[in-house]
Symmetry: C2
């Protein structure tokens, strides 16, 4: 496999090594499947490099642990006990909150989103992690619970080489503008359209 050959080499005075180390801001958006799973698949590669990974889930409930969370807990243990891979920390919005639950308290949810973002922001300032996974982060932005301008500015000015992966539908344009990689997951065919139910092992 050709390891990431560029289409053309820019005249920017940077060495290949410097160009490799540029901080990535990867955005997985669109209405198809694969936004979150692709983020965690990329996190497996980061883990293998020994990177410190911080996962922040902005929507999923903290009441049940997803398959990817249990797997990364074990990979974090492997790091600590066997020295293979990197450390992984995982934070959900907490309190079993999920934005989409009918009747949930919106004020409480938006406060929880602001607390989680404050943690991310503090982590970026302290260069705490090599990779941040901000899962379903577009929703608190789209709902107006986090100020888009401040978030985009904080992300754009993050110090050092800190990579960020953001997932979710309906990403604001300002986020698209500062992203280095944007992929739209487009639904071509989905079994829910034909009445199929979600199933363990595939959807969570």
């Amino acid at each position: 496999m050709n390891r990431g050959a560029p289409h053309e080499v820019p005249d920017d005075g940077l060495s290949t090594a410097e160009r490799r180390r540029r901080p990535a801001l990867i955005l997985n958006t669109g209405h198809g499947k694969g936004k979150t799973t692709a983020a965690f698949g990329t996190a497996l590669r980061a883990w293998h490099q020994g990177w410190s990974i911080g996962v922040y889930q902005f929507v999923k409930s903290g009441r049940w642990r997803s398959g990817e969370r249990v797997a990364f807990e074990q990979l974090d243990r492997t790091h600590r006990e066997a020295g293979i891979g990197g450390p992984v920390s995982w934070q959900t919005l907490g309190a079993g909150l999920t934005f989409r639950r009918p009747g949930a308290d919106r004020g409480e949810q938006s406060a929880a989103a602001r607390r989680a973002w404050a943690e991310v922001s503090a982590g970026l300032a302290a260069e705490r992690h090599d990779l941040y996974v901000l899962d379903e982060f577009t929703y608190p932005l789209a709902y107006g619970w986090l100020p888009v301008d401040e978030v985009v500015s904080t992300l754009a000015r993050r110090p050092g080489v800190q990579h960020v992966i953001i997932t979710g539908r309906d990403a604001p344009q300002a986020l698209l503008d500062i992203a280095t990689t944007v992929t739209e997951m487009v639904k071509v065919k989905h079994p829910f359209d034909e009445g199929q139910k979600g199933q363990a092992g595939i959807e969570w």
Copy 2:
């Protein structure tokens, strides 16, 4: 989170439990990033359910181990030693082959693809795994190294509840037709276009 609510409930006489257990054939295609990483992100969920997972990489070289391979080796060890998650077996095309290497022996590569497919086919007949990841499987089909009709027929008639995820560009129409879920990963923005080099932890 609403765990996979269907848009409408079909009048097919199946219970919800039966509808949940339908074997999935998931196809991640398109020219954007995230096809392979989404497949392995889904495999993390399957692992957590204790499913047996068989990974078959049809293009990546066997000479170096990707981050996702090392991670799943550790998750397989966690299964064996701690009884958490399921078993994972991993097979590359072998012999350090990679289809895209200029000057590589095409006869040798197509024979390697046929050997790998024979293993998949035998596994399906024996109901060896709960989930098969056929990574970059569309390429040997597109190159004519595997007979599309036979492959599609074998996949469509696989016994029991065996889930399959296939990744790669340019999937043949017959494969799209039998897939239960198809997602197209569309490139909106990619740093390679601006001369960025691929980097460890992100691209492998």
